[in-house]
């Protein structure tokens, strides 16, 4: 099947159509259809994995004209490479889990809920596979809408504030990116670019000053989504208020959009600016790591704590990306997956106890281990994965990031960031201890039931992945490597040396000026002449 990507992406929409024909009240049928849809989507995504050739090319490409009017041409141009491959799989993998996670928690308006979930899945998959900047933007924004409803309708007490904040926060960033996107396109048209296909833009030699602005606009949009310090404050609110599936998807997939955006778009498109911004972004990433850890430490709400831990984890990912070498980026992409799995699992875990006790305050718990031994084991494993214990997935990613960072110009940043491993242990274990250990003194906790079969079934795939990725990550890495090399080639700004080592060891601060052989039309475009409105 040559259009497997499209099939996979729009399968959830088929599910939505099916759901529309199911009467409102029949929750069982609604849930089943949604579950089957996501599972089928997952199965449909597997041929992508098996058919994937380990090289740097975009694969399963579909490229047909979509919009063509005026100066613009947008194409339905989709495909995957090593960077998006695992994120796509992660998405299809997480979605059935997300559907299952609120199997019983959402009793109200099940139909609408499931529809939101499925639309969200399509939007996320679409964003990951888009090779057309405009198409990407459409999916990118489309994601907001179902998530907005999920938080707003099925969220917690403070959901209104959270959801509006989430929406507008992310929108402001995206809209500025839109302006940059348009600007970029018009820059491209001067060198003969005819549509929004991503590949065209790589060879654009944009002058550094322009790059700075464009990068800033792209980076803002992605940084909000990541979220990076200091534009992270929507995250704790959104996470806290979202229903479990919402939090899971938000953490596991949507945050990845931000980092994905950086590596897919911002960095290869604007290499000079990438280098120029590296210290700033690395600084923010490192601040994020430490800051979020400190803040997480004093949280009283489990979910908020996990949310802040996300900020810290994503800080690592950003650091890895901007190490701009293979280890760092590999680590970052792995950490993307890892964070999706571990933090997704953590949110599920929080969801389990919230469903039972309807509170998320740490102080309301204590000693749950006694009452819920299976839960305790699972929670423990996930916690350890989150603190990047070797043998679990978190370690591989974090370690590669730090190695990469250390080898790059970000050595000092990396050293500071490494201390994040200590803080992570502090806040996660402290939380774990307060929730699971101690006396089981709260009478409400004494009647808690351990996980049921459904809940265990949700967690098992995640636990398996935690260990698979921790012990044998190489197959995952291998599939990414060629694409990562390509990205690095795109972000490299000095003339390509013959050295095999793909590492710009020391910050190429002196190479701010574009090399001489880039004599190709680099035009300082400040005031592009407006198109003449045709008279008569």
């Amino acid at each position: 099947m040559s259009n497997i990507l499209s099939v996979m992406t729009f399968l959830p929409i088929v599910g939505v159509l099916l759901l529309l024909f199911i009467p409102k009240g029949s929750n069982g049928a609604l849930r089943s259809v949604a579950l089957v849809t996501t599972v089928v989507t997952f199965i449909a995504s597997l041929p992508i994995l098996t058919g994937y050739q380990t090289n740097a090319e975009y694969q399963f490409v579909e490229n047909v004209p979509w919009i063509a009017a005026g100066p613009f041409a947008m194409r339905y141009n989709i495909g995957i490479d090593g960077i998006s491959l695992w994120l796509v799989i992660l998405t299809t993998f997480i979605m059935p889990i997300a559907v299952l996670s609120t199997w019983t928690a959402v009793e109200d308006k099940v139909k609408e809920y499931m529809i939101c979930l499925l639309i969200l899945e399509t939007a996320m998959l679409g964003a990951f596979i888009s090779l057309d900047l405009f198409l990407f933007y459409i999916f990118w924004e489309l994601m907001l809408i179902p998530m907005y409803f999920m938080i707003g309708i099925w969220g917690g007490k403070n959901r209104l504030y959270a959801t509006v904040k989430f929406f507008i926060y992310t929108l402001v960033g995206s809209l500025l990116m839109l302006v940059a996107l348009i600007y970029l396109y018009f820059l491209g048209t001067k060198t003969g670019i005819t549509d929004f296909s991503l590949v065209h833009f790589f060879d654009l030699k944009i002058d550094p000053a322009t790059q700075t602005w464009l990068f800033a606009a792209f980076a803002l949009a992605f940084a909000v989504k990541v979220p990076m310090f200091p534009v992270h404050t929507w995250l704790p609110d959104a996470h806290t208020e979202a229903p479990t599936a919402g939090s899971v998807i938000l953490a596991a997939i949507m945050l990845k959009m931000g980092t994905y955006g950086f590596i897919r778009f911002a960095m290869p498109l604007f290499p000079e600016a990438t280098h120029q911004f590296t210290p700033l972004i690395a600084t923010l990433a490192v601040i994020g790591i430490i800051y979020a850890a400190l803040v997480a430490m004093v949280q009283e709400d489990v979910k908020k704590l996990v949310a802040y831990s996300s900020v810290a984890h994503l800080g690592f990912v950003m650091l890895g990306l901007f190490a701009l070498n293979e280890q760092g980026i590999t680590g970052a992409l792995l950490q993307n997956l890892n964070h999706g799995i571990s933090t997704g699992a953590l949110f599920l875990i929080v969801g389990f106890i919230y469903e039972r006790r309807h509170t998320r305050l740490i102080t309301d718990f204590g000693g749950l281990s006694k009452q819920m031994p299976i839960f305790a084991v699972i929670f423990m494993i996930v916690t350890l994965s989150s603190v990047a214990l070797p043998g679990t997935n978190g370690f591989v990613g974090e370690f590669l990031i730090l190695v990469g960072g250390f080898e790059s110009s970000l050595r000092w940043w990396t050293i500071v960031a490494s201390s994040g491993v200590i803080f992570a242990a502090v806040y996660m274990l402290w939380m774990f201890q307060r929730v699971m250990f101690g006396e089981l003194d709260n009478p409400k906790n004494q009647a808690l039931l351990d996980l049921n079969a459904r809940e265990i079934a949700i967690m098992v795939p995640l636990l398996v992945m935690i260990f698979v990725l921790g012990v044998y990550p190489n197959p995952f890495i291998e599939k990414m490597t060629p694409s990562i090399k390509k990205v690095i080639a795109h972000t490299r700004i000095e003339p390509v040396t013959t050295a095999k080592v793909a590492v710009p060891a020391v910050a190429p601060a002196t190479e701010a000026a574009p090399p001489a052989d880039h004599a190709a039309p680099v035009q300082p475009v400040t005031e592009p002449a407006a198109e003449k409105p045709a008279a008569h």
Binding site: A69, F72, Y137, E141, L175, A530
Partner: protein
């Protein structure tokens, strides 16, 4: 003067104004028919009008791609005018569809409504097709005077009276400026034919000719009033709030488009040489209009008033495209006005339904719980709100994309940035409606209304029109491009 009658009639090509003729004749016929139609059955008039509108539409479309002037070059049939005529007809059609239910409920189901709508439409179409200052003026006045009536149509409602009166006084006032401007232009160039003026602008010194400059700006003022650009926007909220809701819907879409049509033709055909001047002005006005509209809308509880301010903001977005002076921006205006017609009238259609007799102007709070009691209706409203907010994949997004692209293309980056930031701010109040519909528990059961067939049709058409061009906009965009190229 020797008048050769035969020659005169040779210059008259009725085909050029055939849609207008159809509607005018139909309107007059309906005025007569109305006398014999019992007040309960005025709905038939609506269907008749609709048939006429659709017929006019078909007739109009046939001219696509050609440019035919007639009436001594005072009216033209070109793709540009046809595109706009489609917008007007669409607005009129949708307005007609949603009128009967509202008017019956509010006990002002006078049959004259439909003819007046048709006359308004004729006026607007004339504006878009006019190539003579006189025809522009005539079209404008035909439209305006009809609109005054429509705004004050509900004679028993104080608010409707007030709306009509305000609109009338201010509209007439602005007409004064417009005419004075036209007089000055005429004085400088000695003609009222647009084509001729265009040829003379540079000869008389272009922007260096003060009188011409003043004339241009005064004329512009008249149009800016119609499209509700700040600081000529003040009438908008009051009139929109007071007018009967279907008429608000109509006048938020149609006349605004008509104003843009005339303005586009005037500035692009007549004054391209003075682009530096009007472009700067529109830059500032765009910022002012967007900002005033959006910021004020943020604080509105009355949903109609909110949409009124939002319509000001939308005029601002279009001005962004206009200020750019690029084909992209211009075609964006065309596309945007079309999609705006869908989404805004759609939103008003929902308001028509939710309103209760005697208190047709609900607040946003009145929508609490709608999402759960009337899911389809709420879904439609959601589509309209997201489209107004410019979220993908709606037509509103594509429209804004083209408008802002125009600005970027012209190098007006900051204008585009201010535009998108405004757009982000606007999201708040559109979302607020959604917040109430879905996220707030409502006590109301929303059982006091049925969605009548015409309104349902209008809703479906509007929703489709707000969504489909968002996903496959290519064709419409190409039409808009062609339309802009041909003027």
């Amino acid at each position: 003067m020797d008048i050769n009658v035969a020659q005169l009639f040779q210059t008259i090509n009725l085909n050029v104004i055939m849609p207008e003729v159809i509607l005018s004749v139909l309107g007059m016929a309906l005025l007569l028919v109305n006398v014999f139609v019992p007040s309960k059955s005025k709905g038939y008039l609506a269907w008749l009008s609709l048939i006429g509108i659709i017929g006019a539409g078909f007739v109009a479309v046939t001219g696509w791609g050609t440019t035919v002037s007639s009436f001594n070059d005072s009216v033209v049939q070109d793709s540009f005018s046809i595109f706009f005529k489609m917008i007007f007809l669409l607005a009129a059609g949708l307005a007609v569809l949603i009128s009967d239910q509202y008017m019956s409920r509010e006990d002002c189901n006078h049959g004259e409504l439909y003819p007046i709508i048709l006359f308004t439409t004729v006026g607007m179409m004339l504006m878009a097709a006019a190539t003579d200052l006189m025809t522009i003026f005539l079209g404008l006045e035909l439209m305006s005077i009809s609109l005054y009536v429509l705004a004050g149509f509900n004679r028993d409602s104080i608010k409707s009276n007030e709306a009509g009166m305000k609109y009338f006084l201010l509209g007439a006032f602005s007409t004064g400026f417009l005419l004075y401007g036209m007089a000055l232009i005429y004085g400088v160039t000695g003609t009222t034919r647009i084509a001729k003026i265009a040829g003379l602008v540079t000869q008389v010194g272009g922007a260096g000719n003060t009188m011409l400059l003043i004339g241009m700006f005064l004329t512009l003022t008249g149009f800016l009033f119609k499209i509700a650009a700040a600081p000529f926007h003040m009438w908008t909220p009051d009139v929109y709030e007071g007018a009967p809701t279907p008429m608000t819907a109509f006048m938020s879409a149609g006349p605004k488009a008509a104003g843009f049509a005339a303005m586009l033709r005037l500035l692009l055909v007549v004054f391209p040489a003075m682009k530096a001047e009007w472009s700067d002005l529109l830059w500032i006005l765009a910022v002012l209009t967007m900002t005033v509209g959006n910021f004020t809308a943020l604080r509105q509880d009355n949903i109609k008033r909110m949409l009124a301010y939002s319509s000001i903001a939308h005029a601002g977005y279009c001005l962004v495209g206009f200020a750019s002076g690029t084909a992209t921006g211009m075609s964006g205006i065309l596309f945007y006005m079309l999609s705006y017609t869908f989404m805004n009238i759609g939103a008003f259609a929902v308001i028509v339904l939710i309103g209760k007799k005697g208190e047709p102007n609900g607040t946003v709070m009145d929508y609490a719980g709608l999402g759960h009691k009337r899911p389809l209706l709420a879904l439609a409203m959601t589509v309209f709100m997201f489209s107004l907010a410019g979220m993908p994949p709606t037509a509103g997004f594509i429209g804004k994309f083209y408008l802002f692209s125009g600005a970027v293309q012209a190098g007006y980056i900051w204008l585009a940035i201010i535009g998108v930031l405004n757009s982000a701010a606007s999201v708040y109040y559109y979302l607020r409606v959604i917040v109430f519909m879905y996220f707030k528990p409502g006590e109301e059961e929303f059982d006091w209304f049925n969605v009548s067939a015409p309104v349902a049709l209008a809703l479906v058409v509007s929703a489709a029109g707000s969504l489909i061009p968002g996903i496959i906009p290519s064709l419409l965009l190409q039409f808009a491009q062609q339309a802009v190229k041909l003027i």
